[in-house]
């Protein structure tokens, strides 16, 4: 019978890593950002494309979930209209903390080309936004870069930070 003997003091050290809770928690959070499918218009199609075969979002640990309870990132992809505004706020309220929002595309950022009576001029009038993505519609690469930037942002934050009231109420 083979005997496996590992001398931890000699061959590369103990299987122990010293780190802080912050780093471990943020490492986990930043590498498994589950996004709520919030495809509203054209950008939603690009969001789907970034989850599909060529762009393959899963490799960054981002999986699209259909329920706000299971999601921590809301990618607002598309035009938000006045009729829809209350629903986006309601779903945002239903997401569990910690939560982040990426506003994808010009329409979500500022209303974009739809400078009309029916369009909310930027989702940041309704929910607080962490990252704005330019483009109409942004390419899937852009969304992936935004998620990587968001990961960096998450890793910089304190994991146990008290949730400060954000700008919107």
């Amino acid at each position: 019978m083979a005997q496996h003997q590992v001398n931890y003091l000699k061959d590369g050290g103990l299987p122990v890593a010293l780190t802080t809770i912050d780093k471990v928690v943020n490492w986990g959070r930043s590498n498994s950002i589950w996004a709520l499918t919030y495809g509203l218009a054209c950008c939603g199609i690009e969001m789907m494309a970034s989850g599909a075969s060529r762009y393959d979002f899963d490799r960054f640990g981002t999986i699209f979930r259909a329920s706000p309870r299971q999601a921590e990132l809301m990618v607002v992809a598309g035009t938000l209209t006045k009729k829809h505004a209350e629903f986006i706020r309601r779903l945002y309220d239903q997401m569990t903390e910690p939560k982040w929002v990426i506003s994808m595309g010009s329409c979500a950022n500022t209303g974009g080309m739809f400078n009309t009576y029916a369009t909310v001029q930027g989702v940041d009038r309704v929910i607080p936004v962490d990252l704005y993505l330019p483009g109409c519609a942004p390419r899937p690469e852009t969304l992936q870069y935004a998620v990587l930037l968001l990961q960096q942002k998450i890793r910089k934050e304190s994991a146990s930070r008290a949730q400060k009231p954000k700008r919107l109420m």
Partner: protein
């Protein structure tokens, strides 16, 4: 920490205060398989739907109002955002309507390029339809396969106009650019592979037991119902009416190409699925013929109509009068004659119509977009009662609605 606002959370999806065992289920407006922002209020008796009430308007952005405040060329990119799965077909519908209004004919090469764009868009749209519907029903593999092929088409479109989704690749009076060098070779390469791919999808789905149970005899639309609800495109042809605007009222070069219009008289989801697959093959057939037409056309891309259309770039840069005319057309806009026009084209979804009422000004007096999906959503009112909850998803899937054009 919940932040206080006026929208107090409550069980908004379910109401319990009915005595007659009727449950009212709210579906949407943000449901992953609603294909956009569709909200359905479903009255249920056990699991069976007794009454359906679609609620739309969650993507209403006021495009018709925008059109009244824009010069004609300025409105072109807005049409992209209608049916954003196949943008060029909207661009084309609008361009054709304005061309008919001002009585313009387009050079042959522009027509060929337009045909190519229209048919690649049809393929893109049908592939996207297949992907999302299959995903809704649970066939993840088909979703990944179809998106793979769609990405190659997007590459082609990107080579042509630089955009993946919102093309704005067609201008009033022609097309802005000639085909890039590798376009035809790449398109051929794609088309040669396409029958194999379609066969892959069909092998996965055609006789799949789950697929058949979700599709066969579900969502049957009778001929009368389809006509009365103003259905068009595949929705109409699946119900036994042979009506394809490309065949019946040919525009561009559709009268020169040879293609079939697949029709079915079943009217159920499965018939619609088969028609989409057949239409993809027909599109490929059209594209092969159009590729051959491209050779030997004159290089002109834009119609010559100085009153309405800017001169080619080289003239603008070298000739004073062309520059002046271009300046006027860009700053003030073209002024089409007084009159009205309704032009219907066969978009991948169905009959896409543009009604333009011009009063001789630079802005349209009234522009009405006739989007096929609007009625394809309306038919859910009559179609859903009698079905079960899981059928809702597959029916919405096969109606192929896109909310950019339902709500405009």
């Amino acid at each position: 920490m919940q932040q206080a606002n006026r929208l107090r959370p409550f069980f908004e999806n379910i109401t319990f205060d009915r005595d007659d065992n009727e449950l009212i289920l709210n579906f949407g407006p943000q449901h992953p398989s609603a294909h956009g922002q569709l909200r359905l209020m479903l009255h249920l008796q056990q699991e069976q739907i007794t009454k359906a009430h679609p609620d739309i308007g969650y993507l209403h952005r006021g495009m018709e109002k925008m059109a009244e405040n824009m010069i004609y060329n300025e409105f072109m990119p807005t049409t992209d955002r209608m049916d954003y799965i196949a943008s060029s077909s909207n661009n084309y519908g609008f361009a054709l309507a304005v061309e008919k209004l001002i009585g313009l004919d387009v050079p042959r090469r522009a027509k060929v390029i337009r045909m190519m764009l229209l048919e690649t868009n049809r393929l893109m749209s049908h592939l996207f339809w297949l992907a999302t519907t299959a995903l809704d029903i649970g066939a993840m593999t088909v979703f990944l396969f179809a998106f793979r092929e769609r990405e190659y088409l997007m590459d082609l479109i990107e080579d042509y106009c630089g955009a993946r989704l919102t093309h704005a690749a067609i201008r009033i009076g022609g097309v802005p650019l000639d085909l890039p060098d590798n376009f035809i070779a790449d398109l051929r390469k794609f088309l040669d592979k396409l029958p194999e791919n379609i066969k892959d999808y069909e092998d996965l789905l055609d006789t799949n037991r789950i697929w058949l149970m979700r599709m066969e005899n579900v969502g049957v639309i009778s001929t009368e119902m389809a006509l009365s609800w103003g259905c068009s495109g595949v929705m109409l042809r699946a119900s036994g009416v042979e009506w394809d605007i490309r065949k019946e009222e040919p525009y561009e070069l559709y009268d020169e190409v040879d293609f079939n219009v697949p029709v079915s008289d079943k009217g159920d989801n499965y018939a619609r699925y088969k028609l989409y697959m057949a239409e993809m093959r027909e599109s490929a057939k059209i594209l092969y013929q159009v590729i051959d037409m491209y050779e030997g056309t004159e290089p002109a891309l834009m119609a010559h109509a100085p009153q309405y259309i800017s001169a080619p770039k080289i003239d603008i840069m070298t000739q004073n009068y062309s520059l002046m005319q271009h300046f006027v057309l860009v700053t003030q806009g073209m002024r089409p004659p007084v009159g009205e026009v309704y032009i219907a084209t066969e978009s991948p979804k169905g009959e896409l119509g543009f009604y333009i009422n011009s009063q001789g000004g630079a802005y349209p007096y009234r522009l009405k977009l006739r989007a096929p999906s609007f009625w394809h959503t309306g038919i859910l009112t009559d179609l859903l009662p009698g079905h079960y909850i899981p059928d809702v998803v597959s029916i919405i899937g096969t109606t192929n609605i896109v909310f950019g054009e339902v709500d405009r």
